[in-house]
Amino acid sequence: MVFEKIAALLNDYKELEGGVTPETTFESLGFDSLDRVELAMSIEEAFGITLEPDVNMRSVQDLADAVEARLSQLPKEGNA
């Protein structure tokens, strides 16, 4: 779920025609530091989290892991 959503954002952002896998690196996509900030902001908006762009997130999987971690920290909605 998280990976698919991120892949969709990446496909939009870089106008790729699919082909993003968990192993795809941001370097191979030609990402610079400004690109990382753009993507982080789109992810914040798409997932409702805060996310720091981090050069240590090398692959899409690294990013997906970070997003999952942030999502699990959000307060859970009650069932009332």
């Binding site: 530091s33 400004l34 900030v37 982080a40 902001m41 720091e52």
Partner: protein, 314 residues
């Protein structure tokens, strides 16, 4: 002229003086603050001890608000990020990167954080992290430059955030100030013009080069290293650009060649092997004056223009 930026920072004129490395010391910063603007001390690549001394020196010379610029690529960034907290500096501007990780501590210490941003996404990011304002700096500026120009960056950043926007890059007279306000900014940051302020302690050779510069005399270099820089073309710059285009020269070698070049120009007056960082507005800078007169002239001219701005509107 009073704008919401003045109220936010406790200053009289909506003018910030750029945090230029090897230039923006206690002498210049205190002069700008005493003149009603916001003077800024550049932490550049200096260590905590140097910055602490310069902050205290600034406080000895002015009671008015001032700021410190933190260059996020500095090897001493962690310790200087601490110093501004300990010294209770009222305003911190940042450049050359994303200040996100330092902002919680600074904001916790009641520091107003005003990052320089090269894009709308960076503006949004720092707004979300609690920035008090942003400086949208176009590539006309000197030193580290982004790709976008002031003309397109400022209005887009104004659209992207609700916090006050300060325009920077290419602003050297009242026309630039008035234009910045039309683009949506509520203040300006000026760098190049303050190089020739009387209270600016750089070498007279450097000032002379600024006064003699023509419009086409600057260039950017260093894109290959990931951080392009704008400076006046001189033998150093030409050699740097030659090396940059030579794929046999490694990035490490290129970086080493540039080390110390700004200090050589700004402090030793070496115009050949030093780098004379300056903006495209250099050619518009014609007169050495006290910082007070620079601010007064710019603002008076801006006011006159803004008053007459409706002249072609029916």
């Amino acid at each position: 002229m009073r704008t919401p930026l003045c109220d936010l920072l406790g200053i009289e004129q909506p003018v910030l003086q750029g945090g230029m490395a090897w230039v923006a010391d206690a002498s210049l910063a205190s002069a700008v603050s005493n003149a009603g603007g916001l003077g800024i001390v550049s932490a550049m690549n200096a260590d905590a001890a140097w910055l602490r001394h310069e902050i205290r020196e600034t406080r000895a010379r002015t009671q008015k608000p001032f700021g410190v610029n933190i260059m996020l690529m500095s090897p001493y960034v962690e310790e200087v990020a601490q110093v501004v907290e300990e010294e209770r500096v009222p305003v911190v501007t940042t450049g050359a990167g994303n200040p996100g990780k330092y902002m919680p501590a600074w904001i916790g210490a009641d520091i107003k954080v005003i990052p320089v941003v090269p894009s709308t996404a960076m503006a949004k990011l720092v707004e979300r992290r609690g920035a008090a304002a942003v400086i949208a700096e176009g590539g006309e500026s000197g030193g580290h430059v982004g790709d976008l120009t002031t003309m397109v960056l400022v209005p887009q950043v104004c659209d992207a955030v609700s916090i006050p926007v300060v325009a920077a890059g290419g602003i050297a007279d009242g026309r630039g100030v008035a234009a910045a306000f039309m683009l949506g900014a509520v203040g300006v940051q000026v760098g190049t013009r303050f190089l020739v302020a009387d209270e600016c302690t750089i070498h007279p050779n450097y000032k002379q080069k600024i006064l003699e510069a023509r419009d086409i005399d600057t260039a950017t270099a260093g894109r290959r290293l990931g951080h392009p820089v704008r400076a006046l073309k001189n033998p150093f710059m030409r050699e740097f650009m030659r090396m940059e285009y030579d794929s046999a020269v490694s990035n490490e070698e290129l970086d080493r060649f540039g080390a110390g070049a700004l200090r050589r120009a700004a402090r030793e007056g070496d115009m050949k092997t030093g780098t004379i960082m300056a903006g495209q507005a250099s050619a518009m800078v014609k007169k050495e004056q006290p910082a007070r007169d620079i601010i007064r002239e710019m603002m008076e001219e801006a006011e006159a223009l803004l008053r007459g701005a409706a002249k072609w509107v029916n």
